[in-house]
């Protein structure tokens, strides 16, 4: 397994402007995230966990500093370039699944593949495989309303991995689930990391969830716990 630097952050600064007040979320942050890592980011509300996830996923931009994905700088990309970047390299998993209620599980998983030039046969194969990985092959024709919370999150995971992205960004993926179901979902994420070498960054409040990761970073006042940085 390769352990190259997947993401590099240099002198990152993020400031939120609220009225006349400037709130510094990050100030001069530097870090590396290696391929195949499974990182849990914890910290109090407002500490910048989600902001960090958004910047890594090309949803938000830093106030200053640089973010590199492999060798390529992504913080200065245009909106269209960031859209392409997300489609090609990033899989997202959200707390409330964010499935399309009017589409079946199969069609939800298919969505990222509509952004590719794959043939119909290849698309079908990939969708079936993704649903198999999350153990939902028998639910492909079900609508989200016909699925449990855990099953919906599995569909969301299948959607996130179907286009084989380099990194999975998970924002409180178990925040809406009971303990048992949460553990199942975390098990799936761990499997994706260990068996398929998927790089995963997970924001969570749940110390139990963080135990599934290889590395837990505590974020407070805009700084990570330095000891745990890789």
């Amino acid at each position: 397994m390769t352990t190259e630097n997947l993401i590099t952050i240099k002198n990152l600064k993020k400031t939120h402007i609220k009225g006349k007040q400037a709130l510094n979320i990050f100030h001069d942050l530097n870090m590396h995230i290696q391929t195949g890592n499974f990182i849990a980011i914890m910290g109090p509300s407002g500490s910048g966990k989600t902001t960090m996830l958004n910047m890594l996923g090309g949803i938000d931009k830093p106030t200053s500093g640089e973010i590199y994905f492999k060798e390529d700088r992504i913080d200065n990309l245009s909106e269209n370039e960031l859209t392409q970047f997300r489609a090609m390299h990033v899989g997202f998993i959200f707390q409330f699944y964010n499935l399309m209620p009017m589409l079946t599980a199969y069609n939800n998983v298919e969505l990222p593949l509509l952004l590719t030039d794959l043939s119909k046969e290849d698309k079908i194969k990939k969708i079936k495989t993704a649903l198999e990985i999350v153990n939902l092959s028998d639910r492909e024709s079900h609508y989200p309303r016909e699925l449990s919370g855990g099953q919906m999150q599995r569909v969301a995971i299948a959607r996130a991995i179907v286009s084989n992205p380099d990194i999975l960004l998970c924002d409180e993926p178990t925040g809406d689930l009971d303990r048992e179901t949460a553990n199942e979902i975390l098990g799936v994420l761990k499997l994706l990391n260990e068996e398929l070498n998927k790089t995963i960054i997970m924001v969570t409040h749940d110390p139990e969830a963080a135990r599934y990761s290889k590395l837990t970073l505590h974020l407070d006042k805009g700084e990570f716990n330095q000891k745990e940085l890789s």
Binding site: T50, N54, G57, I59, D60, E79, N80, T83, Q84, R86, A87, M88, F92, F94, F96, N98, M100, P101, M102, L103, L111, P112, L113, L114, L115, T116, D117, R159, D171
Partner: protein, 394 residues
């Protein structure tokens, strides 16, 4: 990256399948567009039908002569002396050694409309044999032509269908006299079908118009001779008359009346469109707001803003197209060929049929598409510009 069309299609699929979540608003938008399209088509078809009827009434080689300045036959007066001078004019076709000139009187009489049971003005035209010969497309479909010198009348088919009491062999009181309907004549799609015809001498006698005519129709050798006759008339100080081709005469009348219908129809439709537009905007904003989570999710996973924009516009067009289809269908089923009558330039009723044409449908569809695009524009921009960082708010 997948094609824009593929992304747009996916978004359209999601948008349209979620319409059932906003059924009430969507139906009200569809209904309002259907109403706008229906009303517009109704006016345009009325205008077109009226125009067609009057346009179809005129021949290019028949000159219509009226008193100078008269806008209609009703307020024209031509003396017998003037009529005789016209007989010597240039370019007049001959029939059995006689100039083809029809001296006609035009009287307004009352009749009861079948549709509303209310009185309305209809024209009684006094003609002689030449008046019938000049009008080539006239045929008696029931009964016979009136006998000269009697108080017999023949009735236009359209008039018969729309006014009470003119059936064959009926006795009709017009002015101070009683007339007998002896024939029904047809002249499809022309204004003449909205008229009663009787012998000129009898009409002049009963209505005290002896020696006076309202109009003279002259059959010319060729269409260009109409101008020659006009020049002849203008050069003779005894003739203060206007001469124009019958086609031009009815065309001018058609334009005046159909313009009125047309210019009433469009502003009314545009006013209604504004209301419909407000409905469409409201529906589409509601659509975008209710799908904020889905829209942002799609954008986050890599769908581009342009696809989101077009997806919303096309959803709006989809709704307005349904409305347009319903409006066009209803207008066609209810109004195409519907016969009605309205006041013409002669202050008498002209019977005409609503005329739906492909061009009118296209105009109505353009209007509905306009509502769809304008109604969807702002919501679509909003959808395309949603801040992605809100993804974590759901």
């Amino acid at each position: 990256m997948g094609h824009l069309s593929q992304q747009t299609l996916a978004i359209i699929n999601i948008n349209i399948r979620s319409i059932k979540n906003r059924l009430g608003l969507s139906i009200s938008t569809i209904f309002s567009v259907a109403l706008v399209v229906g009303v517009l088509l109704c006016f345009l078809a009325m205008s077109k039908g009226f125009e067609k009827t009057l346009e179809g009434s005129g021949s290019e080689d028949v000159a219509v002569i009226l008193r100078s300045g008269s806008m209609s036959e009703l307020n024209s007066v031509i003396t017998l002396e003037q009529a005789r001078i016209i007989e010597s004019g240039p370019g007049i076709r001959q029939w059995q050694g006689k100039p083809m000139i029809s001296k006609e009187s035009y009287i307004v009489v009352d009749a009861i409309k079948k549709s509303s049971n209310t009185p309305a003005n209809i024209p009684l035209r006094g003609i002689d044999k030449m008046g019938e010969i000049i009008r080539e497309n006239i045929s008696i479909v029931k009964g016979k032509m009136f006998t000269p010198g009697t108080n017999e009348i023949v009735v236009g088919q359209a008039l018969l269908n729309n006014f009470k009491g003119f059936g064959l062999n009926s006795q009709v009181k017009l002015g101070n006299a009683t007339w007998e309907v002896v024939g029904i004549f047809s002249s499809p799609g022309t204004v003449f079908e909205s008229e009663l015809w009787a012998d000129i001498n009898v009409v002049q006698s009963f209505f005290k118009r002896s020696g006076i005519f309202q109009t003279i129709r002259v059959k010319m050798k060729k269409p260009a001779d109409v101008k020659k006759l006009d020049e002849y008339s203008k050069n003779d100080p005894r003739l203060k008359l206007d001469t124009k081709s019958e086609k031009d005469f009815y065309l001018e009348q058609a334009n005046a009346s159909s313009d009125l219908i047309f210019y009433l129809g469009w502003p009314l439709s545009i006013l209604m469109s504004i209301g419909s537009l407000a409905g469409a905007i409201n529906t589409m904003y509601n659509s975008v707001v209710s799908r904020t989570r889905e829209i942002i999710t799609l954008r986050v996973i890599g769908f581009n803003a342009t696809a989101t924009f077009f997806g919303t516009i096309i959803e709006s067009l989809f709704l307005t197209s349904i409305g347009a289809t319903i409006g066009v269908s209803c207008a066609y089923l209810l109004f195409d060929g519907l016969t009605t009558s309205t006041l013409s330039g002669n202050f008498t009723q002209v019977v005409f049929s609503f005329k739906m044409t492909f061009k009118l449908f296209i105009k109505a569809i353009y209007l509905s598409l306009g509502i769809g695009i304008v109604g969807g524009l702002m919501p679509a921009l909003r959808a395309a510009r949603m801040p992605l960082v809100k993804i974590n708010s759901f």
